[in-house]
């Protein structure tokens, strides 16, 4: 065995910082590589859990309902308009679920039961960047999920879907939405434990999705003014409205609101998530 125990002559501050920066970069990349490997190995579970929900949503609302004459949004042009609007909502929803499923739930397990995270924070990098890496890999999962869901949302509906892709918006909004949901996952993951995680779904995720402008556009809430204002607290609203702008010609919230608020939520969740993470791993 060739265990080397010699420590180099005492390093100076600059040298330490340089070596820490280098080790941080490599460790960050390696952590990401690990997460991608785990994603690749678990595609069998990833695919059904990612595809089933959007498929059912699209299938029931835009295929079954129109066929049985119970169309949401009326018939003909109105039904097509509904299907088109739903594409954006379903993509937003899928991205948010990835934030929960690929960041929050594993983290709840790692903190509460497996304690694996205790080894991960010993990687030679700042603890806050271990948390950020989780967000980035969650964002990557979200992007991947959105890509998979897109064809379903566009093809399954019985009524034609009129997509009009605005690439500059899509290419900036999708990564931002994925990051925001990864950070949301980090915040949830550090604040729930295995005992309280059913509550996460029951009283957090459920209202977020039903009041997330998935099935309707935000502006259509005009007849219920208090609700229209209340749902502005929901980050999913901005995301779905943003995707509506990126993918359709439907009515949508002003992008001057969508981008700044999503950036603001991203910063808030990152801050809350890192604080929660540090609290859990350092004492």
């Amino acid at each position: 065995m060739t265990t080397v125990t010699t420590t180099a002559p005492l390093p100076g501050v600059k040298e330490l910082e340089r070596s820490a920066r280098k080790s941080t970069r490599t460790a960050f990349r390696a952590l990401f590589l690990r997460d991608i490997t785990v994603l690749r190995k678990s595609l069998k579970e990833f695919l059904p859990r990612t595809l089933l929900q959007p498929f059912l949503l699209v299938f029931i609302f835009t295929y079954v309902f129109p066929k049985i004459g119970q169309g949401v949004g009326g018939s003909g042009a109105a039904a097509a308009e509904f299907s088109t609007r739903l594409v954006a909502g379903v993509i937003g929803l899928s991205i948010m679920f990835q934030g929960i499923q690929s960041v929050a739930l594993p983290m709840v397990q790692e903190f509460g039961y497996t304690r694996e995270i205790e080894d991960r924070v010993l990687a030679p990098m700042p603890v806050s960047l271990v948390a950020i890496e989780k967000v980035i890999s969650g964002a990557f999962n979200g992007l991947f999920a959105a890509l998979l869901v897109f064809p379903i949302a566009a093809i399954v509906p019985a009524t034609p879907v009129h997509l009009d892709i605005n690439w500059p918006i899509l290419l900036t909004l999708a990564p931002l939405a994925c990051y925001m949901c990864g950070a949301l996952g980090l915040t949830f993951g550090t604040r729930f434990d295995p005992r309280t995680v059913p509550m996460l779904f029951g009283i957090v995720v459920l209202p977020l999705t039903f009041l997330g402008a998935i099935y309707y556009s935000w502006s259509s809430l005009a007849p219920i003014p208090w609700l229209k204002v209340f749902v502005l607290l929901n980050p999913l609203v901005y995301m779905c409205e943003g995707f509506r702008a990126a993918l359709t010609t439907s009515e949508h919230m002003s992008l001057w609101a969508v981008y700044p608020v999503m950036i603001g939520f991203s910063a808030l969740f990152t801050w809350l998530g890192i604080a929660g993470f540090k609290k859990r791993v350092l004492s």
Partner: protein, 330 residues
């Protein structure tokens, strides 16, 4: 890290290159004014196995936590491999290897992948990390399990894999927190052998334990800790010598054992301590030669029937009782 309230100091102060750990008045106070570690001064030398021995709750794990960047000290300083662990945790993490109390293996990966990715986290390129992972699995007799999920490993195997992982990046010091707690006797001995081999190769090791046999068997030097304070620090042999007795005599007899203890205190001049504990009388004795017949004689003259009599060399348990007045297991 100004939030910790530590004095500004140069990141690295002049230190003895053979000193792998140096702590200076290291203290951790938890909320509620609970002093887990109280002004601890330690120095661990290159190549030694150093033990932190003490009962549960003595502050061993908190000390190991501070030295491995997981617990932020309230005051004091700690250098590991010459790096200040509070000011430069990322750099410190490069020179430490840690085997924690609980199984922290990556459940989503195979046995081999656990090592491979550990190597990558610590800056090895893919080729080197692959080679090292395979070599370590052979060295730790886990090659057959290379492609198994880690959940399929027994407790002893998981522990071996965690040791392999911890030394993979060639740390200046290997930390083991209660490494054999919960292991079956066979796995415990296998782990002792592994640590012995690593020690033979020059690996510096710090382990915490509340098993005195483990401390006695493995450690070159020991720090005995209780309630966060360092009570004694020396080689196991010197610690045992320090209690000033040659033997611990245990007398089992019928009757009033407090009375018997008084009799023996009066009649055995070599006895340093005599006490009634756990249905026996325990007596520390200087110069054991010829003492045992005198014990039987004195007991019987006062009407006691001795049913068992034994004499053992002082153990670390004796040392601990001597220092704290209580049993290590309490």
């Amino acid at each position: 890290m100004s939030a910790t309230g530590l004095d500004p100091r140069p990141a690295s102060v002049a230190h003895d290159p053979d000193e792998v750990i140096h702590t200076d008045q290291l203290t951790k106070v938890y909320p509620g004014d609970i002093k887990a570690v109280d002004a601890l001064d330690l120095s661990v030398h290159r190549g030694e196995i150093f033990g932190l021995l003490g009962p549960n709750g003595a502050g061993k794990t908190t000390t190991a936590g501070m030295l491995t960047t997981r617990v932020i000290p309230t005051s004091g300083h700690a250098l590991v491999g010459g790096v200040d662990v509070v000011r430069h945790p990322s750099a410190a993490k490069q020179v430490i290897g840690v085997v924690p109390q609980t199984n922290t293996l990556d459940r989503a990966l195979t046995v081999w992948e656990n090592l491979y990715f550990h190597g990558r986290f610590f800056g090895m390129n893919a080729k080197t990390s692959k080679g090292e992972a395979t070599r370590l699995l052979e060295q730790f007799r886990l090659s057959e399990r290379a492609q198994s999920p880690v959940l399929a490993l027994s407790g002893g195997m998981a522990q071996r894999l965690m040791v392999a992982r911890a030394i993979m990046h060639r740390p200046a010091i290997l930390f083991l927190d209660e490494p054999t707690a919960g292991l079956d006797p066979q796995s415990r001995i296998a782990l002792w052998d592994i640590l012995g081999e690593l020690h033979g190769d020059g690996q510096t090791i710090l382990l915490t334990t509340h098993y005195m046999e483990e401390a006695d068997e493995l450690c070159d030097r020991l720090a005995i800790i209780d309630r966060g304070r360092l009570l004694a620090l020396d080689t196991p042999a010197a610690l045992k010598q320090s209690v000033g007795i040659d033997a611990m005599v245990t007398v089992t007899a019928d009757g009033d054992l407090d009375q018997l203890a008084r009799v023996l205190r009066d009649e055995i001049p070599n006895a340093t301590t005599v006490e009634h504990a756990d249905d026996v009388v325990r007596m520390g004795v200087r110069q054991i030669r010829g003492v045992l017949p005198k014990v039987v004689d004195a007991a019987e003259r006062h009407g006691f029937t001795v049913s068992d009599l034994s004499s053992t060399e002082p153990t670390l348990e004796t040392v601990f009782i001597n220092l704290t007045g209580k049993d290590l297991r309490e």
